[in-house]
């Protein structure tokens, strides 16, 4: 790799700085508010619920309505993979490792078959 590939344009570093700062603002605001929160109190529970609600919304949005690279795969592949994962999850007493491996395995095989023009 030449130095252009390694370092790149300064504008891109500036953009990275802005994006990193804009992300850290959320984390730091949380750290400031956390001073007033009692562990295990009602507010603590409520904020945990907000975090889980937002994370679940983000993940289900990425699976159903992705943008970018995942959007280049068909919805049915993502759903079949997810269903395979939950089947294993139910069969293996809620063990996450086999569930995750099955989901990604099914997804990878489908994506590869489409790449090779079989599907």
């Amino acid at each position: 790799m030449d130095s252009g590939v390694i370092w790149g344009k300064w504008e891109l570093w500036g953009l990275l700085g802005l994006v990193s700062f804009a992300t850290y603002v959320w984390r730091a605001t949380g750290a400031t508010i956390a001073v007033r929160i009692v562990p295990d109190g009602a507010m603590f529970q409520w904020f945990s619920c907000l975090a889980y609600g937002m994370l679940a919304g983000l993940i289900s949005r990425i699976i159903l309505l992705p943008v970018g690279i995942l959007a280049e795969t068909p919805l049915v592949d993502r759903l079949v993979a997810l269903a395979a994962g939950f089947l294993v999850f139910a069969a293996f007493k809620r063990n996450m490792l086999p569930s995750m491996i099955s989901a990604v395995g099914v997804f990878g095989v489908l994506a590869a078959l489409r790449d090779f023009g079989v599907l």
């Binding site: 994006v19 949005r61 690279i69 489409r114």
Partner: protein, 241 residues
Amino acid sequence: MEPAEAFDGRRRAFRGGVAAAFRMPVWVVSASMMGFGSLARDSGVSFGVAVVSTATIWGLPGQIAFVEMFAVGAPVLAIVVASSMANMRFLPMSISMLPLFRADKAAWRWRYLFAAMMSVNTWAMTLRFAPGMPEQHRAPYFTGLSTTCMIVGVLSTGLGYYLAGTFPFYITVSLIFLNIMYFTFLFASVRQRNCLLALMIGAALGPLFHLISPEWGLPFCGVIAGTAAFFIDQRLGDGHG
């Protein structure tokens, strides 16, 4: 507790965090960040920016938004807003994790750094295991866990970037999908009833709200799903174990 004994306990807690990272999170972080590194190279982002972004943004959806929008030449403001919104989850996450460290005076001073080190992975594990630990062991456990994940994440981004040309499309896309499935099943294993309710309502509302407003859908989804789950759980009373 004697100082020497406390110190020993903290070190053990730190090592416990490192060991916990190697049990599963590190492998997932490694695979996902290799996927990200490969994606970053395809998007025309330099090696340095890709690797540093893993440490400074430290949240995959925001990082992906950053490199993909850069690749299509989106305006600076749009890139900053989109990546920041994709990472807004860090606000409720740090509010719900940091109070666990407050009783530990030495650790509490570092809370702004802990907030920067926090990822969904380390947050979920800390929320699950830290409440059962003595208070002075929680922060060292988190530090061991999160430093390990971050170091591996940065190295894997570099490796993924370096290997990018050699990955066929189906490998890169599967590595990104792995991250999503990891979180799906990590959360499916959550046992607390109010959190589980928030997850189910959030999963149903997330895509709907995104259709209404791509920028503001996610925060609204979090507030509505989280608040509904919180009150439904209170209404249901003490039926849970």
